[in-house]
Each structure stands twice: as C-alpha cells, then as structure tokens.
C-alpha cells in the first residue's frame, strides 16, 4: 500500500522506533519566541545541558512586543522581562535571534517562510499552536508545549506517537471574493473544533492547488482550530517558486527540488478519514460564536441554538450568544463592530495587506470604528510601504503599526475593551482572546476591509 505525504515525511525522520514506545522523531527546524521558551531554557541551565543544534534553531520576538513606539523600551515591565529573558537566553546558548527593531523581526510563522527556512519535507516545531502554518510548504509542522521545547533544544528530537491521517479535499473553483480564510472557516465549521483531534490533515483538491503560497499558509495555519496538530499541502511549482531566491533557499537547488518532487501522497495511499467540500459552495464566512467552528456564511443569520440537536453544542451556542451579545436569527450583516484588526500569522502577509488595501483605496473607514493594520513582519511592513499600501491605509483612516502578534491575542497593549466587538483576520474568537470581555468575529482580509468601510460585517460585494 502507498503512503501519504505526512507518512513519508514522518518515516524519513524516525531516529529510533521500538515496539510499545513512541517514535523518536528528528526535528529539522525549531522556532522560538519569548512566551513559551523561558522555562525551557531554565530547564537546560538546571540540568547543565547545551542546545544541541543552535544552527537549526532561530528566535524572534512577537507575542509581547508593542506595535507603536518600538524605538523606546517596552513599557509593560513584565513583557519587557520576558523579552529580555529571551535575548539573554539566546546570547547564552548561541541561538540566532531577531529582536524588535531588527529587519527580520516579526511573527515567528511569517519569519520562517520569508527567510526561506521553511522548506518541503522538513519537520518543524515551535512552542506555538499555529506552527501548522508551515505545513503549506509540504512540511510536517506542529505546535508543542514548553516541556517539548526544552526536549528539542536538548536533543533535536521528540518522542511522538504517529497521528492518524485525514484528507480534506476542496474541489472546484472558488467564487470571486472568496478567500482561503473563508475556505478554512468553512472546513472548521464542517468538522468541528474536535474533528481533527488525533489527525494530521492533508489539504488536497483543485481549489487548494490553484491557491497562492500565502493563501495556503492561511489554510494550514488554522488546522489546529479544527483540533489537528498539523496540516499540510503537497509542494508543487507554486511552492518551489516561492522559496527560490529566499535567503536560506538551498544552494544545491536541483538536488532539493528533485527531493521535493517526491513529496506527494501515493495514488494508492489510504487516509483514515476523508472530507470533501465543493469550492463553489463556499461563500464569505464569518464566526458568530466563541469557538472557530461557530461560523456561518456572511449572508446568513445568527443561528437559533434551539435548532441544534446535539445537547453539548446547543449549550455552547446558547452561552456563546450571551457572551457575544447577539440575538438568534439576527442577520450577520447587521452586526456593527468597533474595531477592525488586519494582521496575525493567519492573515498578516503582503498578499493580505494588498487585497485589503485594494478595497480601501481612495475611501474612508466608517467613523464608528477604528482599524488596526499590523504587518506580520518588519519585512512585510517595508514591502507594503514600498508599494504605497501604508498610505492607502492611513488615508482611509486606519492605524499603520509595526509587526507582531498584536491584537490576535492581546498580550501587548493592542486589546479590545470589555464589550467591544471586532472583525478580526486572526484565528481565534475565544472568550476574552483579544481582551477581557472583548467579542471577536473572525473574517477574511476582504471582509475586514469591507466591514471597515460600512461599519457592519460586510463583504466587498456589499460595497
């Protein structure tokens, strides 16, 4: 029987396999940031262990960093301590770091691909659940906790039990105005927040193959929102073209590409589970609740929990509507927001900024809201400025910020106030995620831009 792409990558990285034990899996790249690493470095210090492969490790500052006044010391002393701790740890253990103000600083999942460090066939981990992003290159990439960060620092391996394999097929052609964000929100709504637990998801089908690299990154990024630790897409010419010319692209390009071309799921491989969506049936999608599976087409209404048969889901929906301050049956397009957030590891890349800027060009955002535009990395910001996108955002009335995770999780000052409502291109609408008492609607960059202009959840077709 043939193998799936993920099975091939897994097999190529098994250092040791023994009956009744997890496989010991080699890790090709370890990405680090300030929040989930301090206790791991501490553990190394206590045990007197070095970092085994500093040359396969790279750090950046993103979760805590302010997006304004970055030339000044970080105002929050606790955030500052965490960032300073990362800098000291990297210096002590010889790890490359891109600090706030550095041209290669940015969200860890934006920085890896833009440096060309994310490549097909690799195993990549980071103490961050959105590490699944890198799977868009045909890599096996997943988030880990701090104990595992320490484990990889010390050994460059992880003991892992091989997950099951799921295929998510998206066949056909997406309608204009429908983005990969809408596709992944529709997938999560279909399979649920727990549907991917225990699986690696491979995204397949003509709609996926037609996507740009950055659209694919958005899809894989949110695999964890369906419970899957990793999601990946087979590499193809689109992938190779994206890597070519990046700083860390392979010097022996032909050897690398020859290998990358072997990274496909065999025709006779079997998946443990398979789900198929028709691309034509996917419309601009938004969330109405407090988990990413509580979403619906933007043209629809807030669902009535009474119509949900599953008791657990019904209870969750009832609680979500109370938290979100929404009435069952209300049209989603009537929901007014206070804040529009464009950014994050889901939608903070240059294509996301371009697509939103094209809608805002020459127009003004609604006077009832604020809009934050936070590039995913310092280089994305520079690229946007070179293209004049910053001017479009500023002229429209939006705030043009520096790179970081920002309002996606509100660890820095960019937060929602109690009761405030956002349309956000990020990945989680959990209670309080963007600030205590804040209410989040997850949207695509196109819906974010249209919403900023109209003041209520809107798609470009409504303009």
């Amino acid at each position: 029987m043939g193998k799936t792409l993920a099975e091939k990558i897994w097999q190529e990285h098994v250092v040791r396999s023994a009956a009744g034990e997890p496989d010991l899996v080699y890790i090709d790249l370890h990405l680090i940031h300030e929040v989930t690493s301090p206790q791991a470095f501490d553990g190394l210090r206590l045990a007197g262990r070095p970092v085994r492969r500093p040359d396969l490790t790279i750090a950046t500052e993103d979760h805590n960093t302010p997006t304004q006044n970055i030339d000044q010391p970080i105002a929050d002393p606790v955030s500052k301590l965490q960032v300073d701790t990362l800098r000291a740890n990297c210096a002590e253990f010889g790890v490359r770091i891109h600090s706030l103000g550095d041209i290669d600083q940015g969200i860890v999942h934006v920085v890896g691909p833009q440096l060309g460090l994310t490549q097909p066939g690799m195993t990549i981990i980071c103490g961050d659940s959105h590490t699944s992003t890198h799977g868009a290159f045909g890599a096996l990439a997943f988030g880990v906790g701090t104990s595992e960060v320490e484990h990889v620092l010390a050994t460059q391996t992880l003991p892992l039990i091989r997950p099951k394999m799921m295929a998510v097929n998206v066949e056909g052609e997406l309608a204009p105005g429908v983005t990969s964000k809408d596709v992944i929100l529709a997938i999560i709504a279909k399979i649920g927040t727990g549907g991917g637990v225990g699986y690696i998801v491979e995204y397949r089908g003509s709609a996926i193959r037609a996507m740009t690299m950055e659209s694919r990154l958005t899809i894989c990024n949110m695999s964890i929102e369906a419970g899957a630790r990793a999601g990946l897409i087979a590499p193809d010419e689109t992938t190779f073209a994206y890597i070519k010319g990046k700083p860390h692209a392979p010097q022996d390009w032909d050897a690398a590409v020859a290998y990358w071309k072997t990274l496909t799921t065999d025709a006779d491989a079997k998946f443990d589970h398979e789900v198929t969506l028709r691309a034509e049936e996917i419309a601009p999608f938004v969330t109405w609740g407090t988990n990413p599976a509580q979403g619906a087409p933007l043209s629809g209404n807030v669902p009535d929990p009474a119509s949900i048969t599953d008791a657990e889901e019904r209870g969750a929906a009832e609680r979500a509507l109370v938290y979100m301050g929404l009435e069952a049956g209300a049209p989603l397009k009537k929901i007014a927001v206070d804040t529009v957030f464009l950014g994050s590891c889901t939608n903070g890349r240059i294509e996301d900024l371009r697509s939103a800027a094209a809608i805002l060009d020459g127009k003004k955002i609604a006077s009832t809201l604020r809009m934050l535009v936070v590039p995913g990395s310092a280089r994305v910001r520079l690229q946007a400025e070179a293209e004049g996108l910053d001017k479009i955002f500023i002229d429209a009335g939006a705030e043009w910020r520096n790179a970081g995770c920002s309002m996606c999780l509100g660890m820095n000052p960019d937060q929602l106030a109690v009761g405030e409502r956002s349309a956000s291109t990020s990945n989680r609408n959990f209670e309080g995620r963007q600030g205590k008492g804040g209410r989040t609607h997850l949207v695509s960059p196109l819906v974010a831009a249209a919403t900023a202009l109209r003041g209520t959840l809107s798609s470009p077709a409504d303009l």
């Binding site: 965490q82 490549q119 104990s147 050994t155 727990g194 630790r229």
Partner: protein, 198 residues
C-alpha cells in the same frame, strides 16, 4: 516529575464544553518566566462569579477536575497545565482533549483521563449530589472508582509507565544519543541551517 500511581481525592464538576486554553489561562497571565504562580490566572474570566464551581467552598480542596468535551483546545501554552497543577489539580477527566494540551499534561505530570460522555455525566451527577465524594484514580489498574462505580480508561503503556515512574523524557532520550548522532550523518546537505545568517 512526581510519580503518579494512585490518587484518592474529591472533584470539581465543570459542565462546560470547548474550554480552550485561553479560558484556562488568558494570555495576559503568560508573562512569567518561571513554572509557578500561574494559579492566579486559572479560569480568571470566570473567577469573579461567586457561582463558578471553583469559587464554591464545597469544592475547595478538590484535586480532580471533571470537564466537558474538547477540554484544552487551542493555544499550545503549557501554562494551562501549570495553572491547573499550581492550583492543586492532579487529574483532569473529560470526554475529549485538545491534542497539544494532552501531550503537555503527560510531560508535566498532570494525568488526563478520557471517559465517555455518559460516564462523565454520571460522575458530574454523583459529585453534585455529594461534593465530598471520594474518587479513586488508579493508574496501575487504569480505573476511576467512586461509590459502587468503577470505570476503566485507556492510556498507552508508555505514557502510563513514564507517569508511574515519574521519568524525565529528556533523560530517556539522551540515552539514545548514539542513534541521534547516526541519524544526523544521513541528513541531506541541502536542508537549511539558521547559522550563519544569510
């Protein structure tokens, strides 16, 4: 890591599903650089509510948390595990867990037990009827027992052995250093390195 063989304790019923790790501990509480002190942030958004289960005197000394389906989804923050441990929990029971949370728990020595929705409902009902109900978690026998009930649970042999012995994963892996050395010699030269920066 402390050894875990058996535990006799009381439990808190948390009748909520999809309790993601942002609910267990919000991001603003993640700024510590130590492994302790996270109990203040545990379920912080709900701790202002006097009706919230953790605020009820009768559940004060519980060491077992019994939650709804999809507990610990979302963010990979191991701080969620530390917050539960710092607060005093040794065991979490739920019908299904987020993968990363479950993995983190195993590494940090917090036992996660998957029981069916039916068994969790029965446990909730029993705890709500008698808040000081003594519950025995026997990892060796793989059972959760209370009153006249005993329910078996599944845990892989390896994780069970590690928890029962209180073993450090890194120490175990370092015994395989020869295998890692050999593997590294077979890695293709075109795989990227972060140093020197290019």
């Amino acid at each position: 890591m402390d050894k875990f063989v058996t535990l006799v304790g009381t439990a808190v019923p948390l009748r909520r599903s999809n309790v993601d790790t942002d609910q267990i501990i919000p991001a603003v509480y993640l700024k510590r650089v130590t492994r302790s002190g996270f109990e203040d942030g545990l379920f912080s958004a709900w701790r202002n509510d006097p009706e919230f289960e953790l605020n009820q005197e009768k559940y004060k000394n519980a060491t077992i948390l019994v939650a709804g389906i999809d507990f610990g989804t979302g963010s990979s923050r191991e701080h969620a595990v530390w917050a539960l441990q710092n607060y005093g929990f040794k065991v979490v029971i739920a019908p299904r867990f987020g993968d990363i949370f479950r993995g983190n728990s195993g590494k940090a020595g917090l036992l996660t037990i998957t029981l069916s929705q039916h068994d969790v409902e029965a446990l909730w009902t029993a705890i709500e009827a008698k808040s000081d109900l003594a519950i025995t978690v026997d990892l060796e026998a793989r059972t959760v027992s209370y009153g006249h009930s005993s329910v078996g649970f599944i845990i892989d042999d390896y994780t069970r052995w590690r928890l029962m012995e209180g073993l450090d994963d890194i120490g175990l892996t370092l015994q395989q250093t020869d295998s890692i050395d050999s593997f590294e010699k077979t890695r293709p030269a075109f795989k990227p390195q972060t140093i020197p920066a290019r």
